[in-house]
Amino acid sequence: MLVTGASGYLGRHVLQRLRLRGAEVAVLGRRLPEGFEDLELVQADLLATQDFAPLLKEAGASHLLHLAWYAEYGKYWASPLNLRWVDATLRLLQAFGETGGKHAFAAGTCAEYDWSYGYLREENTPLLPQGLYGTAKDAARRLATALCAAQGVSLAWGHVFYPFGPGEAPKRMLPSLIEVFRGRAPAFGVNTSAFRGMLPVPDAAEAFVHLLAEGSNGVSGRFNICSGQPASIEDVVRTLARLCDADPNPVLALASARAGDPPMLVGDNTRLLATGWRPTQTLAQGLAAQVAAQP
């Protein structure tokens, strides 16, 4: 099994899940992430590689888990780098098919959907990509779907919602809130009346691995990677405050909704559940793990 984006937030959790499964893993990328130095590295700069075929031939993997993409907080949404990742993704998948690859999983986003629907469902909710990021992911998915079909590669695509947990970028909402509740940062407002489809990151990582492994049982297509149970942002704030022994009120008092911020952004996970995947953590357990892991 070959993994890209292994040094990223999701990638490190995926490697942990693969290690638990005892899977034979190689990493395609510039380096091995800390703690996984024992893995095989197929060294490449994905954006700079013109022909992946020799590298993939060397790795000889039947399964590809493609997570790599530009994800720098605050910049990824509108960055032109999104376009280069569409290109890299397609060249990678093309070479994977040409060198005998069988099953691929690639990480997409909930930003491929029309957000006005509240509950986002694979079969029914229209796709209306948000931002350059969502548009690039949407385009990559459409092209990759056609490419993989032509090459006889099964492709599972994950619409990833909000995978939260240990290792999240420090500027994102939850790590920032933990800093506030530990008295290290001033309180800031969040949209407490909103609901989001959040999922503890170990369960999200397990979903990727599970979908890829189920490829040989005919599992392919689009899957929402989320809990299916809307998480109230107010609940999240209160829970984090309790876990830090802090008062949630300074944050709650600043509650605000940005214009255009949807009240509901929740995925239906019926399709994912139907493949046999099950979440192992509740929202509260996931938050507790995140607080415990944040130094």
């Binding site: 029309d114 509240g118 029914n124 009346s193 609901f195 109230s232 009240p263 509901m264 929740v266 019926t270």
Partner: protein
């Protein structure tokens, strides 16, 4: 039993009212001497799609052989509601002489009469013969069959495709909700709009309205469940309005998922979020509700017993399904509640099913001068109080039992 929408095994109890006779099976002086059939009345929630639904039981078909005793046009506030609806839709969707409107469950034409008056071609679907006849007397075209995918397709093929379909207080009353909803997908023009009104399950639970449960009421609906059911059958929800009718209803606007052109309004997400905030995606929301009818029954019985012991003279108003559910579940009988007043001449002289409380005309109130009038249809409370205001002449007071026993000022 399996969920009528998603086929998941139903294990989550919502409401258990034991057993009850069919709510519209009013008794006459002769049938009073015959045995009366009672059927189980239990309601379950689907823990997958959250559709709340009445349990199936043997002999269910027998419930629907009776002629329909409810003629919509008897309620003046309901007529005003229908008229306002037609005005709103004509304006919002720019309907005119070139448009076509279809109402499913057209009843006696209470709503389509306003469509007709606006000069818009229309068709009613109404399977009950007596009400269909009443609608035809208003000059309306009526198709007297049950609605579903087959009829929707047939009407579309016959050139009856709709720019607007209306379906008020019927979505909750159809056994095969998937087939019913699919019928609208088949019937709508590519850019057509379908509206549905139904009591909002969230309000039902928040206001303890357990007495809206009766056998013919198959489903209790949230927007969360409705959106899912619609999407599975080719319809997209694009707007929703909260109405005060029936203790809090939703009016849902939908269009064909493949061709509809209306933008989704923020109201959809707001109502969905309100439902999540109310706990409607948790099993507790459903499993806790059954405590409410027991409390309400105790409060009502305590009041009626106290009245009986203190020589109070209690009457009830409104011999509708809600009152039947309440009286039968609480075990109220004529010795505690001697009569029910109803304005509908078709019900006068008959008896409430199960409780066998006589139904009389309004003149009884002036003749008997009751000390308390229990308003059974709490959703029409204001209208009834205005209409019967004269009971105050002899010191009469109004009483409601839902959501709690209340003697009104």
């Amino acid at each position: 039993m399996k969920c009528r929408h998603c086929n998941t095994e139903l294990t989550l109890p919502f409401l258990d009212l034991g057993s009850a006779p069919p709510s519209n099976a009013y008794l006459s002086a002769t049938t009073l001497n015959a045995p009366e059939a009672w059927y189980p009345l239990r309601v379950l929630a689907c823990s997958h799609c959250w559709l709340v639904q009445t349990e199936d039981h043997a002999g269910r078909e027998a419930l629907f052989t009776e002629d329909y005793a409810y003629f919509s046009s008897f309620s003046s506030s309901w007529l005003a509601h229908a008229k306002a609806y037609v005005g709103d839709m004509v304006q919002r969707f720019k309907l005119g002489a070139q448009s076509h409107v279809v109402e499913v469950a057209a009843n006696d034409g209470y709503l389509l009469q306003y469509v007709q008056q606006a000069g818009i071609p229309c068709l009613g679907v109404e399977p009950t013969a007596s009400t269909a006849a009443a609608a035809r007397e208003k000059g309306l075209a009526i198709d007297e069959r049950f609605f579903g995918v087959a009829l929707g397709r047939e009407l579309a093929a016959a050139g009856q495709s709709a720019d607007l379909t209306a379906a008020n207080n019927v979505l909750a009353h159809v056994p095969d909700i998937n087939d019913f909803v699919g019928g609208f997908t088949a019937l709508l023009k590519p850019q057509g709009v379908a509206t549905f009104e139904f009591p909002h399950l969230m309000r039902m639970v928040q206001s303890c309205q357990f007495d809206t449960a009766y056998h013919e009421h198959y489903s209790y609906l949230s927007l969360t469940a409705v959106q899912r059911i619609f999407e599975a059958n080719g319809l997209k929800v694009f707007d929703v309005q909260e109405l005060s009718t029936h203790g809090g209803s939703l009016r849902v606007f939908a269009q064909r998922a493949d061709t509809g052109g209306q933008a989704v309004t923020p109201a959809v997400q707001q109502v969905l979020a309100a439902e999540v905030a109310a706990g409607m995606l948790t099993t507790n929301f459903y499993s806790q509700f059954d405590l409410q009818p027991k409390r309400i029954a105790r409060e009502l019985l305590s009041f009626l017993i106290k009245m009986a012991e203190e020589d109070g003279r209690v009457a009830a108003y409104g011999a509708a399904a809600k009152g039947n559910t309440l009286c039968n579940f609480a075990g109220v009988r004529p010795h505690l509640l001697p009569y029910v007043v109803d304005r509908n001449p078709a019900k006068q002289g008959k008896f409430m099913p199960g409780s066998r409380i006589p139904i009389v005309d309004e003149a009884h109130l002036r003749a008997h001068r009751p000390s308390h009038v229990l308003i059974l249809p709490w959703n029409l409370k204001d209208e009834v109080m205005a209409q019967l205001d004269y009971i105050r002449e002899w010191g009469g007071r109004f009483v409601t039992a839902v959501p709690r026993l209340e003697i009104l000022p």
